[in-house]
Symmetry: C2
Subunit: 467 residues, 2 copies
Amino acid sequence: MKKPKNNLSYFFYPNTIAVIGATANPKKFGNAVTMNLLQQENLESKIFLITHGSKTIFGKKTYKSILDIKETIDIAIILVPAKYVNSVIDECVEKQVKGIIIVTAGFGEINQEGKKLEKEIAAKCRDAGIRIMGPNCVGIQNVDLSLNASFIQMPPKGKISMISQSGSFGCASFYQMERQNIGISKFVNLGNKIDITFDDILTYLKIDEDTEIISLYMEEIRNGRKFLESLIDVNQIKPVVMLKGGKTEKGREAARSHTGSIATNYTLLKTVSQQSGSILCENISQFITALKSLSFLPLPEGDNIGVLTNSGGSSVLFSDNAESLGLKFVNFSEELKAKFSSHLIQLVKLVNPLDMIAGAGEEQYYHITKAMLQDNNIDVVVGCCVIPPFLEMKSVEHYRGMIRAWDETNRKKPLIPLMFFAEKFENLTKFAIKNDSPIFFTPYEAAYAIKVLQNRSHALNKRKSKK
Amino acid sequence: MKKPKNNLSYFFYPNTIAVIGATANPKKFGNAVTMNLLQQENLESKIFLITHGSKTIFGKKTYKSILDIKETIDIAIILVPAKYVNSVIDECVEKQVKGIIIVTAGFGEINQEGKKLEKEIAAKCRDAGIRIMGPNCVGIQNVDLSLNASFIQMPPKGKISMISQSGSFGCASFYQMERQNIGISKFVNLGNKIDITFDDILTYLKIDEDTEIISLYMEEIRNGRKFLESLIDVNQIKPVVMLKGGKTEKGREAARSHTGSIATNYTLLKTVSQQSGSILCENISQFITALKSLSFLPLPEGDNIGVLTNSGGSSVLFSDNAESLGLKFVNFSEELKAKFSSHLIQLVKLVNPLDMIAGAGEEQYYHITKAMLQDNNIDVVVGCCVIPPFLEMKSVEHYRGMIRAWDETNRKKPLIPLMFFAEKFENLTKFAIKNDSPIFFTPYEAAYAIKVLQNRSHALNKRKSKK
């Protein structure tokens, strides 16, 4: 893991961290941050605890002030109550720390006085050349470095980096990512954004080696022009997946009490998304599906899809969702049909979607998936399956057949296994994890996953053809 | 369990069942049906196995023909290959069975010849006064009677009855119902519908004592007028939740190869749904949410919602979904705010949604939920929660606080616990099952659940005011 050179890299790869307001009291947020930092055995950054309380915490010596520390400090994490923050900032300025994370809440999201204080702090740090994250945030994480400088749990490790205006959004997303076998490289919760904002982190993540996909949860964008420029720039290298909170009047009202922000107009954001080639999701389910799709699957070279199934109902529902999203079903060539027919019973009609009927098992799924993956007219293969509770079939066999075909064709084309409502089959989930392959659980999810890949593919091709 | 008097009741409460085409070969569908019937210890119906193969199956004597049985037969289940079905039907006519279920596929869904054969069989049975389900179906189930006359698994027991044009749709739904702690009373897969169709079963389920909610998956409705009349009639007593496959051109095409049917125009169905006061879902996720909502929650008396949360992000996202679906946020009264403030820290702004901030635990969730449930201006209470990974909080405590408040107010108003992406917390799921209470996992799901209850409530009030 190389440390990228960038003006914000010290936030993610700090040599030294000062925790101001560290505490041994498990009923305080400061304790969560303290323990999350101390309990990561693989973290190489040096931690300094600053408190007016106990002389040691978790067996570690504490300091009364950041000024008592001899070493230079890369980042200071501020956990003290709001009323003490300003004076702590003064000490950080004197200490010449590089960056500050203000976890403490009770600023601009509360009242005008809080907003005034934010401005004061921001100005002070700007003059000193110190960058600030927060206030009112849960902190930052770099899973690659075992760095959890936040009061939420460490996410599963992966290739997605996330910038979120809400800490609990991150927290909830991590729960879901764990279930979907996807994970995080870097996580930042921006909170009230008095200095560092989306475009700063975007610019950093663009060059971060371990970040392959970037995701954003935002309620407000202050500098739309700068944000658009960063987005256009980053999307040329890495896909950006966005979700917006505060799309409606009531949502904006809730956002105001959440981070004191005036939520950005959604129509404007849609335009920004289109212009930049980003993926703007309409809800949290789409957001997770997009991340899953981009985490596991290659981009398709064209738009034609081929569908196989053991269940008429599932392919009818998939077809509805696919057509609604504008996906294109290919007509199977005579050559391909001939290939199919040697593996299927006579009742099967050789049309797309190909309903192999309920008796189809591992061998049919393997051969038909492979034939479709090898066909030059097909760019994306969708394998629908309702796990059959009959004929002594194994709950994992259909999926296993598809993955075998996918592996044998070197995973060059996207394979979308739609295992209809199969969440309850633990052996299936385990098999998918072991084989580093995705599962989609509803017809909509499967169709949307394809749409995301196609959009990303189109965005890149558009860029290529412009050159 | 009383047996309702109705011309179709013998399908669900048969005294005697003949399985024609029973087999001991586990690689045949007929075996699945045979074993599903024989292995239910609590089933009181008498089973007769008819086969030209083994003399006993699973230790049970077999017959060569239904005509060899002395007892009268309520229902005959036909599993023999398509080419033998016609002659088997002749024997059933001679035996004067009351009803026939043709599981065998390979009729009208295949070709014109199949359609012709269907007409012949239908006419023959009509003349003999015998009703037919299928062909090309998985069979029927009555969970209350431990009757599984189908080749799919027995669903979890519950109060929902389902009529499905797709067998695998039922199968997949059951997997999901199990996870959501909801379940089935009666299940029917109609297949090619050469005789018995939606309105017949609807009329039966209307008076079935154990059915509280009716759900339909359909691809085609043949007699729209009759269907509408049945729907209007049934909806006055029980809510009907519908999902349509084949809404798009491609979906209709897939439906044609599935059950040989010409899928019904969706715009027409929307009108039918509105006129009858049914709930028409747009996708399978809505369908499950609607069934969950109606299974667990009472109907609201009015439209005003009150929202509490420990996570700003979740309430922003919930608010967006709620406003998109037209839900109404109430303004809290001064009296209610006074009640709130004694339980909350000063940072909390007393607005709706009420963001109690991340430190709120069981006691806050209990007191605030209860205050909202007791408030005359609030009809529905939404408890948003991101399970906190800090402050030594228990993953079940927020939910437990809400359920305590719900119980103490006798569950009179709908309580919507939105446990954001908390599927991975098994202790939470177990607690919910033990307490017979629902969990909603995404902001959209929570908002849609409320919409369903409100729609049902409006439909019933409209009916009342018309009288």
